[in-house]
Subunit: 337 residues, 2 copies
DNA sequence: CCCAGTTCGTAAAACGATTTCTGAGCTTTA
DNA sequence: TAAAGCTCAGAAATCGTTTTACGAACTGGG
């Protein structure tokens, strides 16, 4: 099954035609007769020919798209699945550059992909400044996932996190809750990074609360389990403690659950908790967290669709928002009183 | 920052030398004077030249290694980190092909990487039959992670799961436990797939129990949360129920914890539980699972080292076993009686 | 001063595909 | 029937780099 690779030249010889003919049959195929196509195809399958992607990439198309993502984030796996699904029947391969959160690392990975003449790039929640992304979009078809705000030279796919937060609040209000706290992330000193999902969730929470004439109560901590714990401690030690908490992330929600446990509060009887992201842990029976599902697969397949449009020549930017859904599990119930 | 890419030809012109000279400076550099190196380097940085990887891949080296892995597995992230670490200072890039468990999918991803003339491949727990892996190893430097057994044409890096299981049993015995059950995975009808970590863990458990003159008690179910639940129900409803359970996987251990909870058993007072894999969930304060840590990062960096040796010409196969460590958290304690 | 042996550098040939250009053979049209 | 138009196929140029082969200039020893 190994041995020296079979090249287009050998296929051509076997079929008794020229290299150009073989190439034309395999690609667009302008000006090839049925007889020739048949001959070539037989030789191709017989020899088990697979075109050398490196050679392809140099001239013409590389038949490959690149995905840049932090694979430590659980949702990346689902998004990737969606991306692959969207690639069905397109002869496009997918290559992933693993990165961390460091912009420097992301930059070098993107560079590496550019060096390979990929046909397009999908960036999952990149932490690069917008001007850089715009420049990138000008040099290669680019789609961003999970970054709010849109741009002029790339497409964007994201969850409508404002609506998602609304769903959470609706659900809790519908159960009869009035004092609903939200645990959010600090925004940094200088400017509000409005491109982040966190910000949108906070906004959505505030808007939905106001819609119901309820007083928003935003508690700012880290987006970690520990942050959720300290945030919840704040919310639950007030003289009129919250009866429900909407955490900005499932991880935060886990910290909230721990805090509740430590304070002797039962969930959901004494306290309702809603998270966001629907990470795998949340589905475990022991956790059974009510949460907002970000539809990772749909994000992936949608971004593939947009990317293919862009590869096919579209220039104008498209922004696609996906409406998340609420997954009701065991951490929400009507309040006691 | 975009515009047409700058090629080696332009660098050569700017430096007033030939293309070959530039190439030699950038690579091995045989027969280049200090003066020439200096000239070329200046032109390179000045023009911001970055060699086109596609062109490189066609002739000579591609400066890239490929990783084939199922990114849904949490440990892959850590392994990848280790791989990157091992790549420091080597001018090698890393590209990841995301796959599922399906052999068909893995095959096509490997093909895709072969088409790109990569310098080497790292396969994380591939589910491909051995002959195929041997053939692969003959056509490209290959290292396998997490697959027991070794081979003739590739290197293997794995955890010493036998030793790991031994650690778990030692720990429990040291605490005073005698009735320790193990929840394992079914082996399939026809032959024992001895290449899997699960099998090694089961073997290690049996050996360690015998060493202490204790009767092994292996319960076979699925390697899932649900499997752990049903397995634990079996182990805990005996007339002389187990006082400790060694689960083959953290996910299984979570199911055990749930079963314990449902039966009104407190952990660790009434039941000790040890898992294996140290997935992120296990570290959460509410779970605090005692488990065996597979040293993912070390697996990664070791495999990179071996791969580089192979790329540099080594032919004989190397198998490297990593001794895992026990992470003691809150689910283990001395038995009641 | 000549010759062999180094050094340093370049021209040109790969690598394996795609694409452009050209021409051979037919068919249609005037 | 000659000119024009089409269709199909191949020869050759091209992509950007590495590598090979070779020549020029310099060195040092006799």
């Amino acid at each position: 099954m190994s041995g020296p690779r079979v090249t287009i030249r050998e296929v051509a010889r076997a079929a008794g035609v020229s290299q150009a003919a073989v190439s034309k049959v395999l690609n667009d195929g302008y000006g090839v007769s049925a007889a020739m196509r048949e001959k070539v195809m037989r030789a191709v399958t017989e020899l088990g020919y697979r075109p050398n992607a490196a050679a392809r990439a140099m001239r013409g198309r590389s038949h490959t798209i690149g995905v840049v993502a932090d694979i430590r984030t659980p949702i990346v796996a689902q998004i990737t699945e969606g991306i692959e699904e969207g690639l069905q029947g397109s002869s496009l391969d997918i290559l992933l550059a693993p990165v961390g959160k460091a912009p420097e690392r992301q930059r070098s990975s993107i560079d590496a992909m550019l060096n390979r003449n990929l046909e397009g790039l999908i960036l999952i929640v990149p932490s690069l400044p917008r001007p850089e992304l715009e420049a990138l979009g000008q040099s290669i078809p680019t789609v961003l996932i999970g970054r709010h705000g849109g741009g002029r030279h790339f497409d964007s796919v994201m969850d409508d996190d404002v609506a998602g937060a609304g769903l959470a609040v609706e659900h809790l209000v519908g159960l009869g809750h009035q004092r609903i706290s939200h645990i959010a992330m600090p925004m940094g000193k200088f400017r509000r990074p409005s491109v982040l999902p966190q910000t949108a969730r906070e906004d959505g929470y505030v808007i939905a609360m106001r819609d119901h004439d309820l007083e928003p109560d935003v508690i700012t901590t880290d987006y970690t389990e520990e942050g959720g714990h300290t945030g919840a401690m704040t919310a639950l030690r007030r003289k009129k403690p919250a009866t429900a908490v909407f955490a900005g992330t499932d991880m935060v929600a886990l910290g909230v659950l721990r805090a509740a446990h430590e304070l002797g509060l039962r969930v959901p009887e004494d306290l309702s908790v809603v998270g966001a992201d629907n990470i795998p842990v949340s589905a475990l029976p022991q956790i059974a967290l009510t949460t907002i599902d970000p539809a990772g697969k749909l994000n992936g397949s949608t971004s593939t669709r947009l990317l293919r449009e862009r590869i096919d020549g579209r220039r104008n930017p498209v922004t696609h928002a996906i409406t998340p859904s609420l997954v009701v599990r065991g951490t929400t119930a009507p309040p006691r009183e």
